[in-house]
């Protein structure tokens, strides 16, 4: 329709349709936080990095281009850079000693869950950086293989292959640990 066509001209240089950034925050913040936890950061550090990610994204949101990447992919790319920067500035999280955790007494369900969580942390911490990054994006942030490929620069099929191989190895170690 003529009127609509002309009216659309009134929004010049708008890079993308308006985004509900409050909704983006509500939806994506837990995923970003979880990504950092899977990357091996303690809760407090994960919160700091989540804050840094969203503050940076919030200030830069006018530059976000919807036609280039989904907002979740854009946020995870910022989060990934925040993680890399943090690791450069400080020593990486020291891998927990898996063996020392096996003997931990956990009579309560919550405690058992905590132990399992720490076991998984320890397994993840032992992974090479690239594999850990992919798992954090996949399981921490719930990103698709395509989004992970965009964020990391790897090919999508390569992402799938690495993840498949890594999960298989982790599964074996997880089961092995459970039997001991």
């Amino acid at each position: 329709m003529d009127g609509v066509r002309i009216l659309e001209w009134l929004a010049p240089a708008v890079p993308a349709a308006a985004v509900d950034w409050d909704a983006v925050y509500r939806e994506e913040m837990p995923r970003v936080f979880s990504y950092f936890r899977y990357r091996g950061f303690e809760r407090a550090t994960a919160e700091d990095l989540t804050s840094a990610t969203f503050e940076k994204a919030w200030r830069a949101r006018v530059r976000y281009r919807q036609d280039r990447a989904a907002v979740s992919t854009w946020l995870l790319a910022i989060a990934r850079n925040a993680a890399i920067d943090h690791l450069r500035r400080s020593r990486p999280a020291v891998p927990l000693d898996e063996a020392s955790l096996r003997d931990e007494e956990t009579p309560e369900t919550a405690a058992l869950r905590e132990v399992q969580s720490r076991r998984l942390q320890a397994l993840l911490a032992a992974l090479p950086e690239r594999e850990r990054e992919l798992l954090a994006l996949k399981y921490g942030a719930g990103a698709t293989n395509r989004a992970i490929a965009t964020i990391t620069g790897l090919g999508e099929s390569n992402v799938g292959t690495i993840l498949h191989r890594t999960i298989g190895a982790l599964r074996a170690r997880w089961d092995e640990g459970g039997r001991q």
């Binding site: 009216l7 009134l10 929004a11 409050d22 925050y25 837990p30 979880s34 899977y38 798992l135």
Partner: protein, 347 residues
């Protein structure tokens, strides 16, 4: 292969953390607004028409993309008390683009959308739209024959920031062959803030029986009105320099651009690009104010049956009052007289 075990690390962020961070993000916006609103000592506000919006958009709807892209950005910077037409050769800009001049990189990338205006929304009535726009809706008492108000929309406000990059402006001057224009070095990094108010748009339409067994067509007349936008310029920013650069890009010679530049008040005149092919313009009077009536005859397009029929001409009327800017866009029949009569009756 089950990967359930990998979800065992998943945990929700603490609610108090989520709440605190959410508040912090909104504080960022509040601080940013305060910085924008508080006038710094080296700046001053200039009331102006946001060329990136209303008028440039309408005028340029008739022209080719390179013209639109170039002029839309330049026109942000002009203040409106009157309108002046500038003949623009779209083919020249096309040639410049084809020769490697990247308008997007050199011009559009200097413009940052601080608050995107969003798509216009349909409102219940002109009065309802006017309340939301913070203006009084003015409506015509004389309408083109058989037309009636069919829709009112409200364009949301937007804020734009132009970050001046002298290197890019120099590249533009070079491409335009305008080596007589010197871009002041102190401009580099300066910012120009444009606050575009809400725009109320009323669409009046009629159905026209065209005969020959063809479907009737709809004629639309669009009346736009908005408060005067605000453009914040750095102290000492000489708009004439930027204006001359725009004129040279549009195809004027150095002498013509200089002469034109000296003849107008850059802080009060809004330039409307009119394509040299098929475009005409004349100065008119609307309720005691000087306005500009532009008519455009778009080039003929070949029909599927191989015949060529010229599209109907289009017209655009622009004028301003002390605190508002207006535009009417519609069919250019009768040399735009219908539009002019409509404008004259607006109260």
């Amino acid at each position: 292969m089950s990967d359930d075990f990998l979800s065992r690390l998943r945990e929700e962020p603490r609610p108090e953390f989520a709440e605190r961070l959410g508040e912090r993000l909104h504080e960022i916006d509040a601080q940013s607004r305060e910085r924008r609103v508080a006038p710094s000592p080296w700046r001053r506000f200039v009331p102006a028409l946001a060329g990136a919006g209303l008028v440039a958009a309408l005028a340029l709807a008739f022209t080719l993309e390179p013209v639109r892209a170039a002029a839309r950005e330049f026109l942000d910077l002009f203040r409106v008390k009157r309108f002046a037409a500038v003949p623009v050769d779209p083919q020249r800009l096309e040639r410049l683009a084809k020769s490697g001049l990247d308008f997007k990189s050199l011009v559009a990338d200097q413009v940052q959308v601080v608050v995107a205006p969003g798509k216009p929304e349909v409102v219940a009535s002109p009065e309802a739209g006017a309340v939301a726009a913070g203006i009084t809706a003015q409506q015509p008492s004389v309408l083109p024959q058989r037309t009636e108000l069919v829709e009112t929309t409200l364009g949301r406000p937007g804020t734009f920031r132009v970050q001046v990059d002298t290197g890019k402006l120099e590249a533009l001057a070079l491409a335009a062959g305008a080596d007589e224009i010197e871009i002041p070095a102190f401009w580099n990094g300066a910012t120009i803030d444009v606050e575009m108010p809400p725009v109320l748009a009323m669409r009046y339409a009629r159905t026209v029986d065209v005969g020959d067994g063809r479907l009737p067509r709809e004629d639309s007349f669009l009346l736009f009105q908005s408060a005067t936008p605000q453009v914040e310029l750095p102290e000492g920013f000489d708009l004439a320099i930027l204006g001359r650069l725009g004129l040279r890009l549009a195809g004027m010679s150095a002498e013509e651009a200089l002469s034109f530049s000296r003849a107008i008040d850059w802080r009060a005149t809004f330039l409307v690009p009119v394509p040299v092919q098929g475009g005409t313009f004349r100065e008119v009077e609307v309720s005691g104010q000087k306005g500009l009536l532009v008519t455009i005859q778009p080039p003929a397009k070949a029909a599927p049956d191989g015949t060529s029929r010229p599209p109907r001409p289009r017209a655009l009327l622009l004028w301003s009052t002390a605190d508002k800017v207006f535009a009417i866009q519609g069919p250019g029949t009768r040399d735009g007289v219908e539009i002019l009569e409509m404008a004259q009756s607006i109260r």
